[in-house]
């Protein structure tokens, strides 16, 4: 087992990792920028090393500075958390060369899943369903129509150089193809100087359902069931839950098997998440694989009762897993509480938390590095806390969450608490009737007069 782990991250996840290390008797080193010198992850670690000025590029993303911190503290492993360098292939490689254990997959495994094209190819080989589409650029409308017939309408025509929704057209019928082709290419050429197009099946009203997996160094892989993360705004997750209200035992078995096949095909080591799009007919398609611990991992921990950070560390230390799969025993929902002004387009609202009172009680968990007087700086993300609730049923979970949000006080900055309160009252959310298009039509609460 490791003697000392350096946590190459900050905020709530750094604190999370420190807590598990302490339980395991492993010494901890935190690194921090000058902007974070009053942070809890600095105070709670056994040792701390200041590695740079506030900018991420010169601190949390700076590989030489982090490796120097490893050197002067003699850490024998690094936990990268999520974000920052967690999926940086170069960083994983440098750790391998330097002889310090990167807690996560190997750089080779990371590379296989990091590149979207190669990931898709790997999935096809492993027999995992992917969003069907053209293998390269379309040469003509004729070729496109032929492919669309094979895939099945509706299809989405996408610009290869595209982004921000530009150069994309959904095509519902064969006779719409020509028009879509012409206008999409024109738009793409104007925006990106490139009118190369490809097509994919358009997954209608998809839900975003991901499967948590864990692999060891001996080729064993298991799955820990799903998390439904369909409530998203501009591809940012707001709420996650397990089990998914849309899940059936049969679908879970199929998706679990597919996720394991994906991980096994690259001998994946560590914790990982395979993300799928699930359409209203319960067809599922591989979207991408995240080769790190995720923000919403507590949702799984609450329904499975395992410490996922501990499992990551054990896997990295060469301890084999049993290979058993795990299924939700309870229901859990997580609300991400961010320092954002929901009445102004969710604009980030950094500042000092003048007063913080966390909700507590039966079935309530709050993962946070905030405290009264803590200043949320503008240099990093706007997450303040994750509120996770666990109960026997989904209804009870929602009831508890509402109770918890009513006693969650964060004063001095704007937060997304009012949004979550409004969401929990929404009929579609309460009935589990939602997909990734939910936020497009969700009616935001009105700003209170006071």
């Amino acid at each position: 087992m490791f003697n000392k782990i350096l946590i190459a991250n900050r905020g709530e996840i750094a604190l999370r990792i420190i807590r598990t290390c302490r339980e395991m008797g492993i010494k901890t080193v935190s690194v921090y920028s000058t902007a974070d010198k009053d942070s809890l992850h600095v105070r709670f670690a056994d040792e701390s090393v200041c590695i740079g000025p506030p900018s991420s590029a010169e601190s949390y993303l700076n590989i030489p500075r982090i490796m120097a911190a490893v050197e002067i503290t003699n850490a024998d492993a690094i936990h990268p958390g999520y974000g920052f360098l967690a999926e940086n292939i170069e960083f994983a490689k440098i750790c391998e060369q330097y002889g310090v254990k990167f807690i996560g997959p190997t750089s080779k495994q990371m590379a296989k899943m990091g590149d979207k094209i190669s990931a898709k190819a790997t999935m096809i080989k492993a027999g995992v369903p992917v969003v069907p589409g053209s293998e390269g650029l379309l040469k003509s409308v004729k070729q496109g129509k032929k492919l669309a017939k094979e895939i099945g309408y509706p299809v989405i025509l996408k610009a290869t150089a595209g982004g921000g929704g530009k150069g994309m057209r959904i095509i519902w019928k064969d006779d719409e193809f020509q028009h879509a082709w012409d206008s999409a290419r024109q738009e793409s050429k104007a925006a990106f100087g490139n009118d190369g197009m490809y097509i994919e099946k358009f997954v209608e009203d998809p839900r975003h359902i991901e499967i948590q997996i864990l692999g060891d160094q001996f080729g064993n892989v298991c799955h820990l069931s799903e998390r439904d993360c369909s409530i998203q705004r501009r591809h940012q997750k707001l709420v996650e839950e397990s089990p998914s209200p849309f899940m059936t035992d049969e679908l879970r078995e199929k998706m679990g098997a597919a996720a394991k096949a994906a991980a096994k095909s690259i001998n994946y080591e560590g914790a990982g998440t395979v993300e799928f799009l699930v359409d209203k007919h319960r067809n599922f398609y591989f979207m991408e694989m995240n080769t790190r611990i995720q923000v919403e991992h507590p949702v799984t921990e609450e329904v499975i009762d395992y410490d996922l950070i501990k499992e990551q560390i054990k896997a990295a230390a060469g301890i084999p897993i049993s290979g058993e799969d795990y299924f939700p025993q309870m229901h859990a929902i997580e609300c991400r509480i961010n320092a954002e002004d929901i009445y102004n387009d969710f604009r980030p609202s950094p500042g000092t938390i003048e007063f913080l009172h966390l909700p507590k009680g039966h079935g309530i968990r709050v993962d946070t590095a905030a405290y009264s007087g803590y200043t949320i700086s503008p240099y990093y993300d706007s997450m303040i806390a994750k509120l996770i609730c666990r109960a026997r049923t989904r209804e009870e979970c929602i009831q508890k969450l509402q109770r918890a949000l009513d006693e969650f006080f964060i004063e001095g900055i704007h937060t997304t608490i009012p949004f979550h309160k409004a969401l929990l009252k929404n009929e579609d959310f309460r009935s589990g009737n939602f997909n990734t298009g939910f936020m497009d039509t969700f009616e935001m609460p009105k700003k209170p007069l006071t």
Partner: protein
């Protein structure tokens, strides 16, 4: 205390997580400091005052009396002095090699741009240049000890 007992005691200390151990009896006075003690004392703790809302992590090493000069010094008023701070993380050296003379000593004059020390990280030796001019008043860090970003290395009297 005979040699066997001392050996046994040393073994116990080594197996424990203690970093410093002192024993005084009528016939023997024994002080033991482990390798961890030296590493611990060189790690700078930025926060000297405990925040009433926070509980400081209780580890054996936290009870060790800070000895190394690399701990933030509050003995002398530093208000009028300029600081030379480390721009990187690494190990601080007073000279370019063990057999070479130190770059600067207390009392030396430095000009902006003069090399005052080396900070080594991963076998790369970085010359650290002074950003200020004046007289070296105090060396804040022990030779061959680790330093972090922004750590004060030297105090300089601009009027010296």
């Amino acid at each position: 205390m005979n040699i066997k007992e001392i050996k046994e005691l040393l073994k116990l200390i080594d197996e424990s997580s203690l970093t410093e151990f002192k024993l005084e009896t009528d016939d023997v006075k024994l002080t033991v400091r482990t390798k961890d003690y030296h590493e611990r004392s060189k790690t700078t703790f930025i926060h000297a005052q405990p925040d009433p809302m926070m509980v400081a992590p209780a580890t054996p090493a936290a009870n060790v009396a800070p000895v190394a000069a690399s701990a933030p010094s509050t003995e002398e008023p530093t208000v009028d002095y300029l600081e030379i701070r480390s721009p990187i993380v690494g190990t601080f050296y007073r000279a370019s090699a063990p057999d070479k003379p130190q770059f600067v000593k207390v009392g030396d004059s430095v000009a902006k741009g003069d090399v005052v020390c080396i900070v080594e990280a991963m076998k790369l030796f970085n010359d650290i240049e002074s950003e200020v001019s004046g007289k070296i008043v105090k060396v804040m860090v022990d030779d061959a000890s680790p330093v972090e970003y922004d750590q004060v290395l030297f105090l300089v009297d601009p009027n010296g």
